[in-house]
Symmetry: C2
Subunit: 334 residues, 2 copies
DNA sequence: GGCAGCAATTTGAACGATCAAACTCTGCGT
DNA sequence: ACGCAGAGTTTGATCGTTCAAATTGCTGCC
């Protein structure tokens, strides 16, 4: 292809100067309409497009956001993140932003990559996911001065009133509450199938079930397993052997739900099982599941990071109550 | 944070000139060891990092590759692509390349986005996926002069001897051949569950089964369904009603396999089912499946696009037989 | 007529890196 | 003593854009 045209070429073609072309693109209001018209025609005629690198150099901003692609670990649940990444890419593009992805196998590697990208001015901000209590990434990124936001709350003592950083999360308790309310339509004994206690996310989801059950004056048991189908199947099989009788089952994840369904099948039992994450597997096997709404998460993330309509990174201030967004998930009934 | 140091700052700190610092970074061999040492120490002391935008502007190359994030359409199979994207991100980073993702809802939108990125010098090359016969993207990208490679073959009359563009694909026939060979261990009647004819990928996978069955002097039927679990379940139920008797089943996808398993369960039948793509669902439900090896695909893609070890985009020439790579998939037995 | 005031446009400089050409220094042969 | 080769290093120019300051052209007013 021929050399790409520059502002100078456009200027010559339109019979104006460099800066006027720049003004047409950046501050069109200060250019006389007739001139603007001529410049726009020249841009069109030459097929001019701003050179991204030159612009970035001059503006000292890359208009790019970094996000990690998590390693594939097998299992069912990468999908929520993948959908989130897709949604954020779409919305970022609408605001003139680009998404740069990086791969990392560990938190240390992730921080190394992020420092590299930030110090090399390749990104203006980062989105981190799967935050946990006392997450080392928070301190590190704060120290580097890299603006960031997390999908996942800090899980501090009071993450809402005393925000340590910007975050967006899904209200897990609300999801299991809705699931439990729906499940109670099948009978008064609704059990919960969750993860070992200690994970913020898991405890939150269990709380929703507990609240809904007690609010309805109903009852239910609680079964625990690690988040893998075989382990879930085994745990649930044991629980059934031990005489767990229940009218419906609310699960902390679709993996647990699949394991439960398999165990129920083995025991020739059939009862409603509700999963969490609404993965393709839930859709394929046809069980109900709580949908995290990654689209809404993506919108909220950009709003906190760039303001309601801006096209530059301008993180919301860390003030009590306004530094986060809590998305209400939706129960998909099947 | 303080202003990031530049080459000039490093130079001053080390008592040398701009260019010497640049030489230490780019052509270390021509710098005297003692000088190099001093410069490296200065770089370390100041925490210097090259400014990506400045470098890109001067070098007229972005060291960035664009790849589309496919919209989430539901169903089971986005996973292969996600794993591929992850793998390519990892390997690209090892070669000093970055991956920029973009979202598009249609082929037209994809081309618009790619033109934008290419004309704005944001990317040096693109990777497209899911190519089909007479894919409009090929002509368009060729016309624009954007170097690209596809994951998925062109499906032309002779895509190997007369390459239209660079491509890497998985040898589907080889996968189903292996699956069928394994299935024949369960009896001499192995059937194939595939998609309606006409899709290159589907026909290719069917061919592998056909070849393996006839090579073994065995027999088998052929059932067809669209790639969705409910449709697969219905088609397979009908086939079973019609008296399809078989010792094992080889499927064109994990979606079909899940549908088949559900139909078999309904009919109280139990026979080995082998899927394709080795999705998390196959792992979760515990059926065998053909693994596409996205890692190998990623390596091959970069090799064709950048040469065996280069760190610049330098597409392989379009010569018969050397413009593609065909990856042999692996049967995962469960 | 002359000039203030303003809008529209132009010119010079800068962003931070690398290439190409110019320069310095040492060692060696004559 | 002089010139030359070559390694090592420095200086000037450039990539394409935007900011800041300077310039031009016009209107209205005294």
């Amino acid at each position: 292809m021929a050399k790409a045209p520059t502002v100078e070429d456009v200027a010559a073609h339109a019979g104006v100067s460099r800066q006027t072309v720049s003004n047409v693109l950046n501050t069109p209001d200060i250019v006389r309409p007739a001139t603007k018209q001529r410049v726009l025609e020249a841009i069109d005629a030459l097929g001019y497009r701003r050179h991204a690198a030159a612009r970035r150099l001059r503006l000292r901003r890359s208009s790019t956001i970094g996000i990690r692609l998590d390693p594939y670990v097998g299992g069912i649940s990468g999908v929520v993140l993948d959908r989130f990444v897709h949604a954020i890419t779409e919305h970022a593009s609408e605001r003139g932003m680009r998404m740069l992805v990086y791969a990392a196998r560990s938190t240390e590697e992730e921080l190394a990559r992020l420092s590299e990208l930030w110090e090399g001015s390749e990104i203006d901000a980062a989105i981190i996911t799967g935050t946990f209590r006392d997450d080392p990434r928070v301190g590190h990124l704060d120290a580097e001065g890299l603006p960031f936001i997390s999908f996942g709350r800090p899980w501090g003592d009071d993450d809402i009133a005393d925000p340590l950083h910007l975050w967006v999360d899904v209200d897990g308790a609300s999801g299991t509450r809705a699931a439990t309310a729906h499940a109670l339509g099948f009978g008064g004994h609704v059990s919960f199938f969750g993860w070992p206690p200690g994970s913020g996310t898991g405890d939150d989801r269990e709380r929703g079930w507990r609240e809904a059950v007690s609010a309805a004056g109903a009852r239910g048991g609680r079964v625990i397993a690690e988040d893998s189908v075989p382990q879930a199947r085994a745990s649930m099989a044991a629980a059934l052997d031990d005489g767990l009788v229940t009218d419906a089952l609310v699960c902390a994840s679709d993996s647990l739900a699949v394991g439960a369904l398999l165990a129920l099948g083995d025991a020739r039992l059939d009862l409603p099982v509700i999963g969490f994450d609404n993965t393709p597997t839930a859709e394929a096997l046809g069980f109900s599941s709580v949908e995290q709404r990654p689209e809404d998460v993506a919108t909220a993330v950009l709003e906190l990071l760039m303001g309601p309509t801006g096209d530059v990174v301008a993180p919301r201030r860390l003030e009590s109550g306004s530094a986060h967004a809590l998305i209400t998930p939706e129960l998909i009934v099947r």
